[in-house]
């Protein structure tokens, strides 16, 4: 039996042993996660990169130089920025407006509306892309930036409304009532009181939408046709996936450039909210 007279000391010894075992287990698991990441970073700096993780014989920025051209990097990134920036702006504005009455006024319609929204958050958007394509051909929105932006916004809206409403519920109503007695209208109190007080919440919604759109491949792949309009998510595939000879160092360099904005955004938001756990908690509902 484990509890003998000296069990206090064994317990604390056992804790230390447990912690070391946990550290070791975690580091082993993380090594498996790190290998593909190590490949992209090392290869981007390696003049002779191939498909294996290896330390380069010499370091070079020539891979970055080679891809930093208008055709390969700047135009696709600008397109990504227009699509995701436009889509995010539209989503956040619409979500904030919609969340306000849902959070502030009681109505019989609130619950069914919110349930529908929650239901829509979990629909597989991939499944409706073929009909969206067919529909966009009919209404001449195919191959247009605005059409893609509208669809991006609509696809992110359910989750954005849900998150925004939850964050807005956290702002006490009393603060607003004071403003109302001073004669402020609903729109004024939303803009001047509620939104500033839920700044971190708005930041989470914004970053979340932007990151989701930035990484989305299928939507622009289906809805845009002209190569000049393609965002980085699709162009990377066209440039590197369809060529017979792939320059792996350049592919890695482009991947690093394309991924860094979302990583930076994530770190900024995670730091303000004390780790990524806020998002996990928010998703839990």
């Amino acid at each position: 039996m484990p509890h003998t007279p000296g069990s206090r000391r064994t317990l604390s010894n056992r804790r230390t042993a447990h912690r070391l075992a946990a550290d070791f287990g975690l580091l082993t698991l993380a090594a498996a996660f790190a290998l593909p990441l190590a490949w992209v970073i090392l290869s981007s700096l390696d003049p002779n990169a191939d498909l294996r993780v290896k330390v380069p014989d010499s370091l070079t920025f020539s891979n970055f130089d080679a891809v930093l051209t208008p055709g390969i990097t700047f135009t696709p990134l600008l397109n990504s920025l227009i699509l995701c920036g436009g889509g995010t702006l539209l989503t956040v504005v619409c979500a904030a407006l919609a969340a306000y009455p849902l959070s502030r006024f009681r109505s019989r319609l609130n619950r069914p509306f919110l349930l529908t929204v929650l239901f829509a958050t979990s629909l597989p958007i991939t499944a409706i892309m073929v009909p969206v394509y067919a529909l966009f051909v009919q209404v001449n929105l195919i191959d247009t930036m605005q059409g893609t932006i509208f669809f991006f916004a609509a696809s992110q809206l359910p989750f954005a409304i849900w998150l925004m409403k939850n964050f807005m519920d956290g702002v006490p109503k009393e603060l607003e009532e004071a403003a109302w007695t001073d004669g402020a209208s609903s729109s004024q109190s939303l803009l001047r009181i509620v939104l500033p007080l839920m700044g971190p919440g708005v930041a989470v919604v914004t970053v979340f939408c932007f990151v989701m759109m930035w990484g989305n491949f299928f939507v622009p792949f289906m809805l845009l046709l002209t190569p000049d309009q393609m965002p980085a998510a699709v162009s990377i595939n066209e440039f590197f996936g369809n060529r017979g000879m792939v320059v792996y160092g350049q592919l890695a360099a482009f991947s690093v450039i394309y991924s860094s904005p979302v990583l930076v955004l994530y770190v900024l938001v995670a730091r303000r909210l004390g780790g990524g756990f806020a998002l996990g908690g928010a998703v839990k509902g």
Binding site: L11, A22, W39, A98, S107, A127, V130, S186, W214
Partner: protein, 302 residues
């Protein structure tokens, strides 16, 4: 509204109240319009063209064909293959892979020292935040014949093989685990943090071993998070397209062609939009089913 008041007054009050609710609901309008036009619209259109023989090109007018597309699907070997692969992909990568590994990472993190926790969390979350296509390329490089995995196996003197050719569905499943585990890890970390320390400590002092504690205390206490997590993972996995597209294009042959890739191929490479949409509708119904179960779970939780 008061019952004693005259009907005229009541209706005026009613109209005023209606007017007020309409003004209050006005801010919902932009979101509602977007959702109706670009989300509900396509879903309704999906339900319509799934019953037609709409084609990509060279067709004057599509015609209504009833359940033909669905009948065709269930007789189509390729469709049944895609259903089977979707099932394998979902069970392997979401139910088993992401879920178990996420729980393992989260519970190890509870006990590990802080620097290790931060480092490991950072690495796993980076894999999650990376764009889908980049994750696809990274794992393509990892699983290729000349890639890192085989280099590692050679180094350990284990037999290597051409993973993307022999076991593509396994390779893309691992890729999905690599990319999606962070979400489960975050959900479980949040859930485990809510378990009072006293309970686990009491069990520890009573001499309950790690596995028994996990089975009798931890799992029952986080069962709602497990349910939520399983549903959300499944929904996310059902709609994976880019990752598989970049790694294998559904090939070789159709050995990693899950339903979304099958749907795409039918609609665009074979020009049968109607048939592709019928498959899409089935996928959508499957997703809705999971989604309804998820809502049920949430309702018991709230």
């Amino acid at each position: 509204m008061s019952h004693e008041a005259g009907t005229a007054e009541a209706s005026r009050k009613g109209r005023a109240a209606l007017g007020r609710s309409l003004t209050r609901a006005l801010p919902v309008a932009p979101a509602l319009v977007l959702l109706l036009l670009f989300l509900a619209g396509p879903i309704a259109y999906c339900a319509y063209i799934a019953f037609t023989d709409l084609q990509l090109t060279g067709q004057a007018q599509e015609s209504f064909v009833g359940f033909d597309n669905f009948r065709k699907a269930f007789e189509d070997e390729a469709f049944l293959n895609a259903v089977w692969l979707t099932l394998v992909f979902t069970v392997l990568s979401s139910l088993i892979g992401q879920n178990t590994l996420g729980l393992a990472l989260a519970s190890l993190m509870q006990r590990a020292s802080k620097p290790v926790r931060t480092l490991v969390g950072g690495i796993v979350i980076t894999a999650w935040v990376l764009p889908e296509v980049v994750a696809g390329f990274l794992l393509y490089a990892f699983f290729r014949r000349e890639g890192t995995l085989n280099a590692l196996l050679d180094w350990l003197h284990l037999p290597s093989q051409n993973w993307l050719f022999t076991l593509p569905i396994l390779a893309v499943s691992f890729a999905n685990v690599w990319r999606g585990t962070a979400f489960s890890m975050l959900v479980y970390s949040a859930a485990l943090n809510e378990i009072p320390k006293e309970i686990t400590e009491a069990a520890e002092v009573d001499g309950a071993g790690g596995w028994r504690r996990l089975w009798h205390i931890t799992l029952p206490m986080i069962r709602r998070s497990i349910g939520t997590n399983l549903m959300l993972n499944t929904l996310q996995t059902l709609s994976v397209f880019g990752l598989i597209w970049v790694m294998t294009r559904g090939g070789p042959g159709d050995k990693s062609q899950t339903l979304p890739l099958f749907m795409y191929e039918q609609a665009f490479q074979n020009s049968m939009i109607g048939y592709g949409t019928a498959v899409a509708l089935l996928l959508l119904l499957l997703g809705s089913l999971v989604s309804v179960i998820y809502l049920r779970l949430l309702r018991t939780e709230v």
